[in-house]
Symmetry: C2
Subunit: 600 residues, 2 copies
């Protein structure tokens, strides 16, 4: 590969270094984290933060997207002895949308033979968990979630977790147990050995997904790979490739080979391209072939709208916004045309067999999610959710990992009902929602309308939040939009972690607030979710380096700086002895009070 190899963003974060924490059960595990160094005056240890950015932020690693990332899970997968390489399906012109040769995205140069389960074997993390096996992936995520903090079992928990089962200490055994009971998943296709394992479940850190993908109208492979790298740099835990149009197959290969995070897709999009975009002409055979094609490439989770049943379609007809899920509308149209249940529903067990052979996780799609405030929590939406609960049990019986997709557009007072009903119907299988958007009136700002709902549903128990960018409803997100969407959703996820009372979640807030109070400006920038923007905003008014140690900022100027005054107060108070002071002041304070409540 030469000219096609796009440049992606690399380099360390400011004052940060990549560290790797080793496993104890599995010695070859190296869990990446980021350490943020603080100014010596802080007298604090570096802060360790969760790191989704992969080797791209590690100056010690030279990446080349034409080679792909190191397949760090390869040996773990092979060591289990339950998969075998095989020839795999050959790429067909339909896979890339019959694109002409001159417009074909080049194939990824170094294609491996795919792996799949040996006959009769289930190679899913769920199967291993049920068998009592703690896989390297499980130990990896246990270390990753813990972020080197000490066990918190002695801490006073501060939070409201609405009946979650958050432990003080995240052990590999706890991870295994959560997966075994279906309450968490590790999306980890055996053909995506480049991925750094991560876990999705209500008793873990809330995760964020970023969508991207080419469409028939715009964007190219190079842009998409760069967007993926960019999205994980800012904190995306998984990426969904929602490409439509041409070159879908080859673009996806480039993305998967270079992605350290799980990749999700909606296979019906590609299947539809293969039948020329005519929904009615979709067949089980085309769809099945697409599932295998994508499973062989290493897609980690599939959105499958199998819960949308024929009798639910009429329930959407009087909605304000009908069906707004692309996949859902395609399936609904197929069902209506053929007057029968979809092949997704009828063939669900066969789909499970495919997923089980590669460990592709299910993301059971909510094809009938509301597309407007008016349609939230209606009969169509909840009927489908109930069906998703039935399908969850079927997938579990097949040893498949499952999460459930959720809305959409939902006013605040209806959000908790979604979470509660999902937990009830789906027996605590992880919930994965798009937003929800809490009002319809702000196109251009739907990262915010939805960030509000995302934070709330994350608090209530949602395990992963699918980001929404400022371009939602209006156009395809560019690089800036992707970053804004990811940061907004990291905020929502972190606000949820705090409110749930996840042990250790507040450490970064506290470190940043101490830096703020002590006027360690550089530390404040470096500890933030987006150091570049924080520094840039500060420098717009006070650019001089001297101001980085100034005991004030441009908001108030030196005379009005409350923090500066607080330091004076603290100094004075400590001089006099605090406890004595409080006692004395309270006593004297009473004497000073000439006022009485004189309601009249």
């Amino acid at each position: 590969m030469t000219t096609s190899s796009p440049t992606v963003t690399t380099g360390a974060f400011p004052a940060s270094r990549k560290i790797h924490v080793s496993g104890s059960r599995h010695k070859d595990i190296r869990v990446p984290m980021r350490e943020i160094e603080l100014h010596p005056s802080a007298g604090e240890q570096p802060l360790t933060v969760y790191d989704t950015s992969g080797p791209y932020s590690d100056p010690a690693v030279e990446t080349d997207i034409a080679r792909g990332l190191t397949p760090l899970r390869r040996n773990w997968i092979l060591a289990r002895g339950d998969v075998e390489p095989y020839e795999g399906r050959s790429v067909q012109p339909a896979d890339n949308g019959f694109v002409s040769a001159d417009r074909l995205t080049p194939a990824f140069p170094d294609l491996r033979r795919p792996l799949r389960a040996k006959a009769g074997r289930a190679v899913t993390q769920l199967a291993y968990a049920r068998a009592g096996i703690v896989t390297p992936e499980m130990e990896f995520v246990a270390i990753r979630e813990t972020q080197r903090r000490a066990a918190a079992s002695q801490e006073t928990r501060d939070g409201e977790d609405f009946g979650a089962s958050i432990p003080g200490d995240i052990t590999p055994e706890f991870v295994r147990d959560e997966i075994a009971r279906g309450r968490a998943i590790i999306p980890a296709n055996v053909n995506h050995p480049e991925s750094e394992p991560m876990i999705i479940g209500r008793n873990f850190l809330v995760k964020v997904n970023a969508n991207m993908g080419t469409s028939a109208v715009t964007s190219s492979m190079a842009e998409e790979v760069d967007k993926m790298v960019w999205a994980i740099r800012w904190g995306a835990d998984t990426v969904m490739d929602l490409s439509t149009g041409r070159n879908i197959h080859n673009t996806r290969e480039w993305i998967v080979r270079n992605s350290p995070v799980p990749i999700g897709t909606v296979p019906i999009y590609q299947a539809l391209e293969k039948v020329g975009g005519v929904a009615e002409e979709l067949t089980w055979e085309v769809y099945r072939d697409t599932l295998i094609e994508q499973a062989e490439q290493g897609v980690d989770y599939f959105t499958i709208h199998a819960g949308l049943r024929l009798h639910m379609v009429p329930l959407t007809v009087d909605r304000v916004t009908g069906i707004v899920s692309r996949g859902g509308s395609i399936i609904a149209k197929w069902c209506l045309h053929h007057h029968r249940e979809s092949f997704l529903y009828e063939r669900f067990e066969e789909i499970c067999d495919i997923c089980r052979a590669y460990d592709v996780s299910f993301s059971l799609g909510d094809g009938l999610r509301p597309g407007s405030i008016a349609d939230a929590n209606d009969a169509a939406q909840f009927a489908e959710l109930e069906t998703l609960g039935e399908l969850t049990k079927i997938a579990w019986a097949k040893d498949c990992q499952v999460m459930i997709e959720g809305p959409g557009h939902v006013a605040m007072h209806k959000i908790k009902e979604n979470m509660d009903k999902q937990i009830e119907c789906c027996d605590e299988a992880p919930f994965y929602t798009l937003g929800p958007l809490t009002t319809d009136i702000a196109p251009g700002y739907d990262h915010i309308t939805s960030g509000i709902g995302a934070a709330m549903i994350g608090w209530f128990g949602c395990a992963m939040l699918c980001y929404v960018t400022p371009k939602e409803h209006l156009g395809l997100p560019d690089r800036d939009d992707v970053k804004t969407g990811v940061i907004t959703y990291k905020i929502a996820a972190h606000a949820a972690d705090l409110a749930k009372g996840l042990p250790g979640a507040q450490a970064r807030d506290d470190a940043l607030s101490r830096a703020r109070f002590e006027f360690r400006w550089e530390d404040q920038f470096n500890l933030s979710l987006d150091p570049d923007t924080a520094r840039d905003f500060h420098d717009q008014t006070l650019p001089k380096d001297a101001h980085k140690v100034a005991h004030f900022c441009s908001m108030c100027g030196p005379r009005f700086c409350s923090m500066k005054i607080s330091h004076d107060i603290r100094a004075e108070a400590h001089k006099d002895g605090m406890a004595e002071m409080a006692r004395k002041y309270r006593e004297r304070g009473e004497l000073y009070v000439p006022l009485q409540a004189t309601e009249g």
Copy 2:
């Protein structure tokens, strides 16, 4: 005035016209609203929306900021016969921070003599309300809140209002009653007759305040007037002028004379300037003089940190971020230095007498609000809140209107406790919070960290949300930041209105969603909070005019447009007869189901 007259943004919103609704009790009332016209294909009436933008968005009015706005309330005020003009205080060099003549912001050209209550009279809306008088201001806000919708008493209410008393129909008598019991205020200084009355209370639309102001470090009068006009254009219901440094007096005069929304201030800022910035040297006399100075100019509400008492200061010493309120820290330092209660607390009844003579509303400041997640809901914060409750009763006894300021930085699970405790301590006096910010880790994005908390506390009963801009903690907001902050908070306020179930709140969401579903792109832009940004984002990928009527957008392209497919489904469904279809499909659906839950 010639050169000093800055240009402000004027002009109508797209497809919009300013209308005025007349009063029935008071015939000279003309309540401004905005009508958004829809495409003829919609077959819908224009949508009426609440309009804070004043005459600046009315092409029929020629504004000139050197003349100021028409004093529309002047006759109402004079007709009550309880105020008299007087000479007023003369402007002193200290009022403008002893600025040198060459740097002095010019005085506003057309200064009126101030009004104040005749001896012994209370000229507050609260006094009138208690006397059973429905003032023009009260009728004005009743019409304004109703937005021309029909009474909603017959509607099925959809929302959770946590014990609020939201009526189906907002009558002038209801407004009077809410004010009389202290549950709402109309900030309306007799010396700010240019203001279009608005109401703040939990049973009305949630309001938004935008802060602005010069500081010693940066910004000028011209910028500030423009920012005010800009902020109200995007929806700010009130504006706080938080200027420090020089030219405070003259800048404020320009702002008030040109503001159709209530103006709030924190008088201690100017008082501190008058004593050279040395907190300990503040005196009651300087402060009192400042209150009168600002009351004569027409400031509609004062933030007064009278609830911060001496014995509370030691409670802040072990906080992560001490005292972060500027006013609070000034008062705390004063208290500590003098070892006595502040003159704000000791002289509170005298302050009430001043406010009562001009109808300046109280915004009782939360000088001890938390500045970090770690400090939320602590003893210092709640001790002050309890004192604010006592002061509320004293102010009410003096016929003064009161609202209460609230935090700050608060994780989601602690927000409701703030609202509940405020209602309990302050007997439902309107709550007015800054955010709250739900995490500390995202400087540069604190409009979002706080927009989440603002939406939630608005839902829980908070009456007004003080915006936070992206520059919070980092620098002074510029025009773009002001707009982003206001729009974010309009989203939060509206999301809260929806969740509370305010009658009619969903009309705009529904109209926009219908436009979206019917591919009326122009209507979608025009109905949104920010038509310019929505249109711009759309046009970045699909700029051609033809695409404004296209039945798809760049997100999915024509083939994958769920809305387009939904229309096909709807057409087909209606052809077959919906009810019959649903019945038939449900029956047949059962036959198709080969799957059973086979948990194992």
